[in-house]
């Protein structure tokens, strides 16, 4: 197996230390950092997403694979920046105000990175005003709002309203999290919803490519 094939497999198997070492080895062997992303990491996360959707893997394996992907990206990112390679699309993501949960949000962020998005993560407990100012600053194609607690869904409504108001550049909005449904997404006027991190990557591509 080539180093890139091994890296692909290490990400799918969730071997984070191997993934990091293999990404480094690929660089040492002279591979282009952009190629490592396109030929190993992006297909690996696509495969993980497919397997998740067909119930071949469950949440634990998905989280383990996403971390391996993140570790490999950590090695590649400085080189990508140095080479001036930036993904075509930019996305902002954050957990809405009042909610401190971010494991699900972080998983979506990795899946988006694995679909060639530059992802700016605003963290958890993010007020609507902070989303708006970050949109003004980064001009993303997409913004993702996450909520795990049923009780913080009103904060999501408020955040969508703030992003849609005057003074905020137009942007596609995606919502997600355990209590969120397509119906809720429609009610609040979001552009997209995904029931899990695997479909969130696909949905994100569809939204920005249709824009």
């Amino acid at each position: 197996m080539t180093t890139l094939e091994q890296l692909y497999q290490a990400v799918i198997d969730g071997k984070n230390k191997d993934a990091r070492a293999l990404a480094q080895r690929a660089l040492d062997e002279g591979a282009n950092p952009g190629d490592i992303v396109d030929k190993a990491l992006v297909p690996a996360m696509a495969a993980v997403g497919e397997r998740f959707k067909s119930n071949e893997i469950f949440v634990p394996e998905m989280l383990v694979a996403a971390r391996a992907m993140k570790e490999a990206m950590g090695v590649l990112e400085p080189r990508l920046v140095a080479a001036g390679i930036t993904p075509k699309y930019t996305a902002l993501i954050g957990t809405v105000q009042g909610d401190l949960h971010d494991i699900g949000k972080n998983l979506v962020a990795v899946m988006w990175r694995g679909s060639n998005f530059r992802v700016i993560d605003l963290g958890s407990n993010v007020p609507a005003t902070k989303f708006v100012s970050a949109i003004n600053e980064h001009r993303p194609h997409l913004v993702g709002l996450s909520a795990l607690l049923t009780t913080t869904m009103p904060a999501m409504v408020e955040t969508v309203r703030a992003i849609r108001s005057a003074g905020c550049p137009p942007v596609k909005i995606m919502v997600g999290g355990a209590p969120i449904s397509q119906q809720f997404a429609d009610e609040v006027g979001a552009d997209g919803f995904a029931p899990d991190a695997a479909s969130a990557a696909e949905k994100a591509r569809a939204l920005v490519e249709s824009a």
């Binding site: 969730g14 119930n55 071949e56 469950f58 949440v59 634990p60 394996e61 989280l63 383990v64 971390r67 105000q97 009042g98 909610d99 401190l100 949960h101 971010d102 494991i103 972080n106 958890s124 407990n125 607690l149 049923t150 009780t151 913080t152 869904m153 009103p154 904060a155």
Partner: protein
Amino acid sequence: MTAEHIGLQTPDGRHELAVAGAEASLPLSEVLRLRGFPLNTRCGGRGLCGGCEIELRAGSLGRAADGARVAAGAARLRSCQMRLRGEDVEIALPAGSLLRHDPAVVAEFRINIPWARDPLVPGVRYGAAVDVGTTTVALLLCDLGTGAVVGDASSFNAQIRFGEDVITRIQRCSADPEALGQLQRAVAAETITPLLREACGQCGVAPGDVGAMAVAGNTTMLHLLAGVDPTPMGVHPFRPAFLGHRTYSPRDVGLAFGGSAAQVHLLPGPAAYVGADLAAGMVATGMIYDEGPALLIDVGTNGEIIAKVGDRLVGCATAAGPAFEGSGLTSGTRAVRGAIERIRLRTGPFAAELGLIGAADRPLGICGSAYVDFLWEARRLGILQANGRFDGAFCSRAGDAIEAGTYGRRLRLNASASTGAIWISELDIARLLQAKAAIAAGTSTLLHLLGKAPADFRRIYLAGGFGFHLSLEHAIGCGLLAGFGAGQVQVVGNTSLGGAYLVLNDRSLLGEMAGACRAMEAVELNLQPGFEDAYIDNLVLP
């Protein structure tokens, strides 16, 4: 040396004691114990609790630390810190200071401290201890004259129809002004009242003769029972309306028992997501009197972990989900009669030996302790891979015990399907791994924060609905208690109910419970940088 005379007044009457020689130089609590009046020295005579307090009516005593003279007065004195000083004394012993019960296993919990017979509501014949869980409510009926448990009952919390977790129930209160009243009726009139009636029926006690109730539970459950809006607890910074001890008349909270003097006491809690159920556990395990370092791990839908290191008490909550309570799994069940509580596996050919709770013709399902057995045994025998998947080679040899389904493969544990097959699926294992990871990552993050290693802990108290039959070797081996040794861990059962039972029988504990609540620092795991990594690390089997 002449003999000193102690005039001792106890709730039972007056006693005259003559003390002489070496005995007179011992701590006063020790002198009294040797004379047949053992005191409630739950901190081990280290001056940390009020269990050995006396009233000095006449004469004087010497303070053990510096020999200073302490004259008779109104203030109560901790007798473990006092010595006789060659003078006759008159001493009164309050009911709360007389040891009546040694540490013991009571019903479904273990109590590690001695306790007195000084009931929560004086003059009352019967009292009830209640643990209000999000899923399950348990009640004990006590004869407060003897401390004996005379009835017990448990059932699901009728609030479940409004949502399975506390957050859903909080959300209903914020969305619908009628919901708070409905939730209060569900737990009071529809859950606790029938349980009390059932327990009373077991021993022929009239509910009208029950005069006291001590209630432990998580902070949300106590808000809903009290009819207090829990809405602010639904969003960060998660502020409860109250945490302190509260007293109500049964009628005020929709309960029906006792006369006009009957009281319902809600126990104090430390924080929004580390509640009175854990405060009760800190007292029942004796942890607050421990020299430590000690850990209390309560495995429930919401797992809570409290560490005592030196004088510090630090607690956190971790969302484990209900898998170890048997909920949401293919053949899962609560730890009730007929449930499989123990599993031993063999390969070549594959066979499972199942141990049931009580006598039953056929297994009802699998409860938490048996799932822990399975994770360990199946991994050890190579049936399961580290990622929680069935091993391919095992599957090809297992014949019709393995079946492929929509949600991965599943393994049948009982030989004959005619009595109802018992299955464990790969999706079940994924859910168990998530529950295990939440507890293990919560524990390791808390330890990291305190700069401690597992081996530094003198005692780990493992509480929760597993039952007493949990194999510690397997809990450690499957990674639930990773890094600890079986010799460090004590299984303590439902200590929330245990703490409520204690306070019901010995009200002096209430103040010390409240003190521990004020002292505890709550840590938000989601804000700890290492938590997510630790969680993912623990999503595999060792």
